[in-house]
Amino acid sequence: MIADDDEKWLAAAMTAVKQNAFYMQRAIDSNNLKDALKFSAQMLSELRTSKLSPHKYYELYMRVFNELGTLEIFFKEETGRGCSIAELYELVQHAGNILPRLYLLCTIGSVYIKSKDVTTTDILKDLVEMCRAVQHPLRGLFLRSYLAQVTRDKLPSIVSELEGDGDAQMNALEFVLQNFTEMNKLWVRMQHQGSSREKEKREKERNELRDLVGKNLHVLSQLEGVDLGIYRDTVLPRILEQVVNCKDELAQCYLMDCIIQVFPDDFHLQTLDVLLGACPQLQPSVDIKTVLSGLMERLSNYAASSVEALPNFLQVEAFSKFNYAIGKVVEAQVDLPAAGSVTLYLFLLKFTLHVYSDRLDYVDQVLGSCVTQLSATGKLCDDKAAKQIVAFLSAPLEKYNNVVTILKLTNFPRVMEYLDHETNKAMAIIIVQSVLKNNTHISTADEVDAFFELAKGLIKDFDGAIDNEIDEEDFQEEQNFVARLVHNLYNDDPEEMSKIIFTVRKHILTGGPKRLPLTIPALVFSALKLIRRLRGGDENPFGDDSSATPKRILQLLSETVEALSDVSAPDLALRLYLQCAQAANDCELETVTYEFFTKAYLLYEEEISDSKAQITALRLIIGTLQRMRVFNVENRDILTHKATGYSARLLRKPDQCRAVYECAHLFWADECENLKDGERVVLCLKRAQRIADAVQKMTNASRGTSSTGSVALYVELLNKYLYFLEKGNTKVTGDTIKSLAELIRSETKKVESGAESFINSTLRYIEFQRQQDGGMSEKYEKIKMEWFE
């Protein structure tokens, strides 16, 4: 059918309606009953058309509907003028065409009902029965819709007036139920009209008409006499019978939803088994999850809105009923895709979480059911299903905001197993993020173990998985989550804490070369924190066999960090070794400390070849070594000597120079009297100066390239001298400083050094110190010098 034609026909019909309505009105004005009937019938005849699409037909219907309002009033007046209503009721039935006849009959019927001079229920029965005569789906639907419409406002009053008259009440109910049933039949039948080519369009049109059918249910829900008993014994079974029997996907879907939406919550609760019992009987193509989810959502809200309702939920065992029903549905709908069944369980889970938030066993049961279901399908490759599972698993997380609670759900990890790698990882991220967001502390080793089991998607690569498309940034971000996570694994009890660390280590080490550099530091620092705590407490409160001794932990760390050096992250490993060494030093474990240093040195020698990295590493080594107090003279000498040696072997001269003067610090520790070897300090500085000289020479040789370098070095050296001078190193003499100063002066005269501000600050500092009270100015007395202006 072409839309234009549609429009044209509608226009023609509208004109005819208008015209006949006009004549009808005129007849009404002159109280001419016969003509009024005649023209109204003619007007109604326009509704007999088969040419209009449902949409246009609706427009036409509405037009006629408005006109019929006038007629209804006229009928009412007419009965007041002595024309018996029964006569009118007969008179309208003389119309030769069925459709106008029935419209008129409904109109007068509604007046009849209002007049109350007959048993209204008889009229209702008659009307609904007579309407059977229109079997054309579209026309029948609208006719019955009209019937529902005109009787609608009268029904509740009937029912309330008939209070006590159970039979009559039932009849009114019967009326609505029957009208509903018939309308639904017609509606369902619509799909078979016309060619199969236009099926899709027809279904769309049909869908637009659904509210005509649904309105009946709405009316039912508003009948005052319908209490729980009637609902349970009559209304619901009748509706469901129709819904199930019509075997139509669209209708079933819509009507189930309608039932759920229009009737009160507590009705649903009390008739849950009936309602749920119908679900497996629906067509396989019906989107049951939408239906059930609607129901569960409603009941969830109900439970949330009124506390009094909760005992009812328990009383009717809503959970087990839902669980059972969903099981049945899944069983009945063989070809339900995995996504569908998971969605069902998702809604059940949400419902459970809402209503039975304290019943972890229920939650676990839902998960279990889901596992059973999934086990039939195997691993999921379906994107949608995977997404649903993620939502499914996230639900309890969001609810409890506590991973520890989730860990109690034994079926949780089992569900995760059905996810593909990608999704599993995504899920793991969600879990970890939940921990971080809620700052959850996981405080026992077992829980930690279980937790890592959950998060393993993040922790390690899967066998055979090729992640060549992983975005580096994302990966780092993910692993940062893991690193942050480690700090949330915490227990005040050191014993337990050490167990946790052991567990974490076990899992983290499975991570592979890409993950380790990102995750191990977190572990190390977490462990170091524990060590520091242990040191703070009693020396060894647990006896020797305890795992929680600093020594054992350090040993563990040593092994852990070694893993890093295997994966070509030597810089990092070196840093961590040094950190460990520091901790060991604090615990006064000399051999352990020495061990760490050894490892650090080895790394330096074997793995760190980049000169910039060498400089950094060397500085770290020097810095750390300087603070070591645990070593005896011999060990310290070895290490110091080594460090100095490394310094001298750096590639670039300025670097050499700097490293060497840094080494000077190794021989001087402020707080430790036996570690103040002034001579060797000066030796180091001298050596540094010699290197600086060499730099200077090279600079002069190739003038212009890096002329500032050496002057800066000299100034730096000067500062070092000043430092040690302040520290009271008697071997630092005024002469040495003066000569250095002289050197700087002469150098700056020769060439624009670029280090003026540095020099000036140094000079200002000297000046300042000289004017200080106390010992400082005395020390500076030694270096009175003429400075260049």
């Binding site: 030769g96 069925i98 059977r132 229109v134 079997q135």
Partner: protein
């Protein structure tokens, strides 16, 4: 001219009045020329009485060889128009031969007249009752005046009135079962019933119930049958599915029906049928005709 006109006019005016003419019920009758006139209504065994006024025109006298009134029951076949067959003929002599000078009134009475047949106006046949007043004159021709009246006979409800119930169909195509609550209906009756669809393989568009009148005239080889559809009443719109049952409720009062007449004086019969018609989308008609008997039930105090 006036004289001449007067000469051809009948010499007197004859009028007939019934005793209870003012109260008697009048019913409309369609005359040959299509005019509708109201005629008094009688039934069998009633006494038909009244007065006949003979009013000579001013200054004229009517000589006559006698005045009589006849009550005639006539059957007129249209193929034999103008030829009446009288099945009832009663005569009352009103006056002996003489002269009438001024208005003269004659009372008359036919007591308990047997009028077995009803007035009937059909397609090919008409049955009517008439009062015929004749002022017999020798040379000038008799003066005749007619007064039609209508006869309707009322019968009590039949003691046996079975429903009509039947299953019909076309194999593998359409099977229906229909039921009408009675086989005999009075004229203001209402037909109730239902149509039950047992099997529907065709695309039905609608279903009508027709009331058909079958009028047969003549006898033997000359029998002439005329069928008219008096009513076409839509019962159903659209295509039903198996198991549907469609209600039937037809009020007979709006239609111009008569009782069933069987072999009236060997001249004609009138029979009524209910014709159930199903029309499919290709406008093919499937129908089943059932005879019903119509009778006239005495109306309650009208």
């Amino acid at each position: 001219m006036n004289f001449l006109l007067g000469a051809f006019k009948p010499a007197c005016n004859i009028s007939i009045t019934f005793t209870d003419g003012k109260n008697r019920k009048q019913v409309p009758i369609k005359k040959d020329n299509g005019q509708i006139v109201m005629n008094p209504l009688f039934q069998s065994q009633e006494t038909i009485a009244g007065k006949i006024h003979i009013d000579p025109y001013q200054g004229k006298k009517v000589e006559h060889n006698g005045v009589k009134v006849e009550l005639l029951g006539q059957i007129e076949m249209y193929f034999d128009r103008g030829n009446f067959y009288d099945f009832t003929s009663l005569v009352r002599e009103l006056d002996v031969p003489g002269e009438i000078y001024e208005r003269k009134t004659y009372p008359f009475e036919f007591s308990s007249v047997e009028m077995p047949y009803e007035t009937y106006n059909g397609v090919n046949v008409r049955l009517k009752y008439v009062l015929k007043v004749t002022v017999t004159r020798g040379y000038a021709g008799s003066i005749v005046e007619y007064q039609d009246f209508v006869v309707r006979n009322y019968v009590p409800p039949p003691p046996i009135n079975n429903s009509i119930k039947m299953e019909v169909g076309i194999e593998d195509c359409l099977h229906i079962e229909f039921e009408y609550n009675k086989s005999k209906y009075h004229l203001k009756d209402v037909i109730l019933g239902k149509i039950y669809f047992l099997l529907v393989r065709i695309k039905i568009k609608n279903m009508d119930l027709e009331i058909r009148r079958r009028e047969s005239t003549g006898a033997g080889a000359n029998t002439h049958v005329e069928t008219e559809t008096l009513a076409k009443f839509e019962l159903m719109d659209g295509a039903p599915v198996r198991g549907e049952s469609i209600p039937v409720r037809v009020f007979l009062s709006p239609y111009d029906l008569t009782p069933t007449h069987t072999n009236i004086n060997n001249k004609f019969s009138v029979k009524y049928y209910l014709n159930l018609v199903l029309v499919d989308e290709e406008d093919r008609r499937y129908f089943k005709q059932q005879e019903i008997t119509l009778y006239r039930l005495k109306e309650e105090a009208s």
